[in-house]
């Protein structure tokens, strides 16, 4: 009973309404400028989906920078690695990708995405241990180290796969768009939106509703206290870093499929964009 009373007295967690409403307000403000409702709808949904894809990549950076205070300029490396690993699955199974069946397409897309998440997560583990561990708490060094890591990873990709652009066709059933009246919504953008929303909900749930999320947030507030309570905060933050890089890999797959090509410099091209979003 006392427990209940105590939890009742806790202040409500703050909900940020205004930042969440801002995209809605901005897009509504654009409506009179565009003029036609149907083309406004098409454009809004398309840009929302594109934003979601960038969000998937940026969410990893948010986790790493916001929670661990690590400036990771090498985040783009995970994006490129994720995209290249996806080609390892998608190109040999090209017949499945070209098949005109949604389930067959998804059956090849899902392992590709999972594999690239796993590989970029593992790369994140290595990068954190080798490059970031010696420079914890020193922002300038972190930037330099991770920039060096980005260069090395990008050049290693060039060395392994060659400098040419790899074409990566979109699965057949994800091409084209749904037409509702005058509004056209590309199928792939719908999928990107769905994945982005799932990632968003997943991060929110884990951070706010589970014990691990509680420990991560507590570790951000007061690192020593959580360590004193007997939790290995290093390992926890390592897990956060790996999750962040895995999400970057997933975002890389989505982006590569959206552009229908894979290139080693795509990660460094996107880095600036992601830092904006963060």
């Amino acid at each position: 009973m006392t427990d209940l009373a105590a939890s009742g007295a806790l202040p409500k967690p703050k909900r940020d309404i205004l930042p969440a409403l801002l995209p809605v307000i901005v897009s509504l403000a654009m409506l009179p400028l565009i003029g036609s409702l149907s083309s406004w709808m098409t454009l809004t949904v398309a840009s929302f989906a594109m934003g979601m894809m960038i969000f998937i990549m940026a969410s990893g950076l948010t986790l790493v920078f916001g929670l661990m205070d690590v400036l990771n300029f090498g985040h783009g490396a995970f994006i490129s690695v994720g995209a290249y690993v996806a080609t390892l699955v998608l190109l040999p199974l090209a017949t499945w990708v070209q098949a005109d069946s949604l389930w067959l397409n998804l059956a090849v897309l899902a392992p590709a995405a999972l594999l690239s998440m796993a590989v970029s997560g593992a790369l994140g583990l290595v990068l954190e241990r080798v490059l970031i561990l010696p420079v914890y708490g020193q922002h300038l060094k972190q930037i330099l180290m991770t920039t060096g890591g980005l260069i090395i990873a990008e050049q290693a990709l060039y060395a392994l796969w060659g400098p040419q652009i790899i074409p990566l066709p979109l699965p057949t059933s994800l091409r084209g768009s749904f037409i509702f009246g005058d509004v056209a919504i590309a199928k792939y953008r719908l999928l990107a939106m769905l994945v982005g929303l799932i990632v968003f909900a997943g991060i929110q749930l884990v951070l706010n509703r589970t014990k691990i999320g509680l420990l991560i947030r507590a570790g951000v507030e007061n690192r020593e206290m959580v360590e004193a309570l007997g939790y290995r905060i290093r390992r926890l933050f390592l897990g956060v870093f790996m999750t962040g890089s895995g999400l970057a890999g997933l975002g890389g797959v989505m982006w590569a499929l959206y552009r229908e090509q894979v290139h080693a410099s795509m990660g460094s091209d996107l880095t600036v964009l992601i830092f904006h979003r963060r």
Binding site: L131, P134, V135, K141, L144, M145, T147, G148, G149, I151, I152, Q155, A156, Y158, A159, L160, G162, P163
Partner: protein, 92 residues
């Protein structure tokens, strides 16, 4: 942009002649590392080694410079000049 950053960090941040030394090392690497790597790549290809010719290809000189960059951050955190200024006690 990246080239300039590499020059400054390798030479030593916050010093004037550090930048000169870094630029010298960088340009030397750019010009001679590629020739050296070309020879090494050919030798590796002739020996029939896998993967190594690709890694040593002259176009991949930035890979090795990146490794040099990270190594210099490890071992000369204050750059070549900072290391030469106070060599003995600063090592950790």
């Amino acid at each position: 942009m990246l080239d300039i950053l590499l020059m400054v960090v390798i030479g030593g941040m916050g010093t004037i002649y550090g930048a000169i030394i870094g630029a010298a090392i960088f340009i030397l690497a750019q010009n001679y590392l590629q020739t050296l790597m070309g020879a090494a790549s050919k030798a590796a290809a002739d020996a029939g080694l896998p993967l190594l010719p690709g890694l040593l290809h002259p176009d991949r000189w930035l890979l090795w410079l990146g490794l040099l960059f990270v190594a210099s951050l490890y071992f000369f955190p204050t750059g070549v000049v900072g290391r030469l200024r106070n060599p003995p006690r600063r090592s950790s």
